[in-house]
Symmetry: C2
Subunit: 280 residues, 2 copies
Amino acid sequence: MENPSSDRPRDSLTFPDSKSQHLSPYIPLSTGLSNHPPSSAKPFVTLTFATSLDSNLSIAPGVQTALSGPESKAMTHFLRSKHDAILVGVGTAIADNPSLNCRIEGVGGYGGEGLEGQPIPVIVDPKGRWEFTEETKCMKLAKQGKGKGPLLVTSNGSTSKKLQLLSSLSGGLIDIDSTKDSKERADWGQILSALALKGVRSIMIEGGGSVINELLSPKYFHLIDSVIITVAPTWLGKGGVQVCPDVRTEAGVRVPVGRLKDVKWVPLGEDVVLCGRPKI
Amino acid sequence: MENPSSDRPRDSLTFPDSKSQHLSPYIPLSTGLSNHPPSSAKPFVTLTFATSLDSNLSIAPGVQTALSGPESKAMTHFLRSKHDAILVGVGTAIADNPSLNCRIEGVGGYGGEGLEGQPIPVIVDPKGRWEFTEETKCMKLAKQGKGKGPLLVTSNGSTSKKLQLLSSLSGGLIDIDSTKDSKERADWGQILSALALKGVRSIMIEGGGSVINELLSPKYFHLIDSVIITVAPTWLGKGGVQVCPDVRTEAGVRVPVGRLKDVKWVPLGEDVVLCGRPKI
């Protein structure tokens, strides 16, 4: 991937090799995905997010909170370049209007060819709540050739207008069975299988709070392959959106907590990055 | 301090210099306390505790939870040896029956002379709830010459039996004004001033949840000089005792969150130790 500095877009990011080498054992290999069987029924799943010391993602629901430093932002974009897809829940899509692309220097749209290195944005929206248009940030970026067209995971069908927009950006729809659960919960095994069938070999799950807490709960913890968490040296206090999984089963039984193995702590600016794998 | 290995008690702990050197900028100097004015109106305050990734101290109220590894335990005892006193709230005293002494190799009772290096245990019990006897662990250890006699901070007086026991162990009572607050809250400025008057130049505050959350709240954050937190790579989940300060003032106004400066992250076994100072 040639990237003469004269072509380097001003909004691109770089992440130093000295840091990325610590992460490599925890991310799917970009070439061939040799640490994950390509025929697998689910993609390699990396769960990643940034919290305060009191495990808050943000100061209040719907309020984006600058938690971690610029190095952490660059790391997120580096990690995005190493995955086929990135995933957020509908709450995050609505609240943050996120870019959901990769701005690391050298990927497609940021000095590189075509859409090389750009992950597919996946938005999980079981009830079809997300009202996006071509002005929605990730749609705009896809149109500009700075990101891929999104995949919408829903059990509620979609309007023809939405479908048309997604198709025009080479995105699409994944229909999952509607659950009988009125709590708007999706079955993560089903979602990941459907993504594997679409050719997604690796996915980075980024948030928000509901998605992270579901995946960390005993029901889904085994679906995670790798965890990369940034912790910032601050407290956000009560009333924030918190990562704190429900450790009881549906029958109300308290089950063992989730623990990581193969742990590595990497200081990054004022923050620390924790890498690990679920201890099943 | 001579400490021939033949004299080394089997229950003593060691903490390697390679790790302790990272901590030294964050602890009061044991000789002379030169980084803290001796005439200060309050002791040098180190706040220290261990949490899970979801900021839980334990899995449920009153349930001691083994969170951090053996290195972290040794660190706690090393830190205790560097402070004049260690402090816990009455909830912890009742729930855990803690030893509240220092078992680092070479301190008094663990290979050293007399009670050299042993901190004074301080228990904050505004309403006089703690029913201790000579069988209570920290009293027993004091009697055996393996720890100092405790100081009880209360606004409720004490029974003569309790007073007699404390006196017999060279411990004592600190009377603070009873607050009008029915929530059993103590005024931390007042407690720390009273301890300074007793000659306590440095204190390590260890828990439990209520004490930590009070000190991290905007009202008291400025009283902390140093923070040393261990984070274990595990989630305990909902229903635990959580460090998450109340960031609203009594008038209900949301105030800025607590942040640390001079941050250092030190990996320690599977855990990480965060050292920092409150950014006021």
